[in-house]
């Protein structure tokens, strides 16, 4: 991924910046210019805001055949997270044994390395999720 493209996405990758439709209230992540439900009615009414970072595991999979940049982390858990604000997003769930992950598990966002562009390239940082400790 080219550096400028990643840079443009940094607010969402670092801080879960989403949009809320001023017409129907639905939340989109990553941010959208138009509401997928309200279309034209949402023009100029999409409010940017930051998700609080907490949610629940909606569904997940344990990945054993991994892309080379994730060799060090296999097997890893990739999950669909339902954020408390309603948006769903896909992310790794880390700092937990894969066998302990379950649907409904409460998680919070944290910042981790997502990958890099080789030893001469930039490092990509972004959200992953960890279990919420009691």
């Amino acid at each position: 991924m080219a550096a400028p493209r990643f840079w443009r996405e940094a607010p969402s990758r670092y801080n879960l910046v989403a949009t809320r439709c001023g017409n129907c209230g639905s939340v989109s992540f990553p941010p959208r210019s138009f509401c997928p439900k309200c279309h034209r009615k949402s023009v100029g009414r999409m409010e940017r805001f930051r998700l609080a970072g907490k949610g629940s595991v909606y569904t997940y999979s344990v990945v054993h055949e991994v892309p080379s940049e994730l060799d060090m982390q296999k097997p890893y858990v990739i999950a669909m997270i339902e954020m408390d604000e309603g948006a769903k997003l896909t992310a790794q769930v880390i700092d937990v044994d894969p066998k302990d992950v379950h649907i409904g598990m409460r998680v919070r966002a944290t910042l981790r390395r997502l990958g890099d562009e080789g030893p001469d390239g930039i490092i990509h940082y972004g959200y992953k999720f960890v279990p919420i400790l009691n």
Binding site: Y14, R50, M72, Q73, L111, G115, Y125
Partner: protein
Amino acid sequence: MDVGIVSYGAYVPRYRIRPQEIGKVWGADGDAMGRGLYITQKSVPAPDEDVVTISVEAARNMLLRKPIDPECINALYVGSESHPYAVKPTGTIVAAAIEAVPDLTVADFEFACKAGTAAIQVCMGMVGAGLARYGVAIGADTSQGAPGDPLEYSASAGGAAYLIGTEDIIATINRTMSFTTDTPDFWRREGRSYPSHGGRFTGGPAYFKHVTSCANMLMEAMGTIPEDYDHAVFHQPNGKFPTRMAKMLGFSNGQVETGLLTPFIGNTYSGAVPLGLAAVLDIAKPGDRIFVIAYGSGAGSDGFDITVTDAMDSFDRDAAPKVRDLMERTKEIDYATYAKFRGKILMKEVSI
């Protein structure tokens, strides 16, 4: 005008390795190494953790305890000897991740194990001079130890972040002083993966000389004696040096035990004193006086005389994990996993 700590946050990766496991690989007596260094285990960063991620987690924990508007942070400094980039600041990524950009000044510091306390001093200057409303000082490391080197038994990972300001101070920094010389006790040349050190030379002429000199300077300037302090935090490259240092200066074990973390998480380098101080602040009461001496090879010591204020009573310490919580959240790994996580295995292609 008082300058001091407005909030703080800590972070320690959860993986741990014991000296016995390291010694087993290198034909050394791990038990003896552990006893000699007074280290029972050390923290290890996950493959997707580095100084940026540790700093961000610590800074976010700091802001959980004191949710100020991040745009009021006008200075941010990250002290470390393991910045992920040689050229490209750690601090800009951290500042963006806590939404403090763009109206602030940022820089990365390096002074072996005391870069984090140097960051606190600079924040004190910026805030005290009215050039910043709040400054953030972070000390964090994913320190390196060559395979088989004695450093491998202690070099670990962790960090802490401090919000420095003049409003709602939970701990006033009464005075800071430094003692600095040109002493080549530990170094890493540009482009080298692992540091080198002078063995026993890192003790007497380096750690002990600088910490003693800075401690005595500070107590003389403040007109204090060790009994005046409720807690003392000394740099802790291992568990033995700080306890010996405390005894030499006249501090009791009771004064240093809360801030002595190296026996349980290893030497977090730039994170060591900031984490030790965070552990003290986790339990400190208003009126408590804290004596802090950091040490960085090369070499220098930064000293701080700190008094906990009444504001600590209403400060929300429970809004973020305490250092002891982070120390208890562990997963032990073997040497093979450690070698994989720390990039000590030559892979076909480079990956995180």
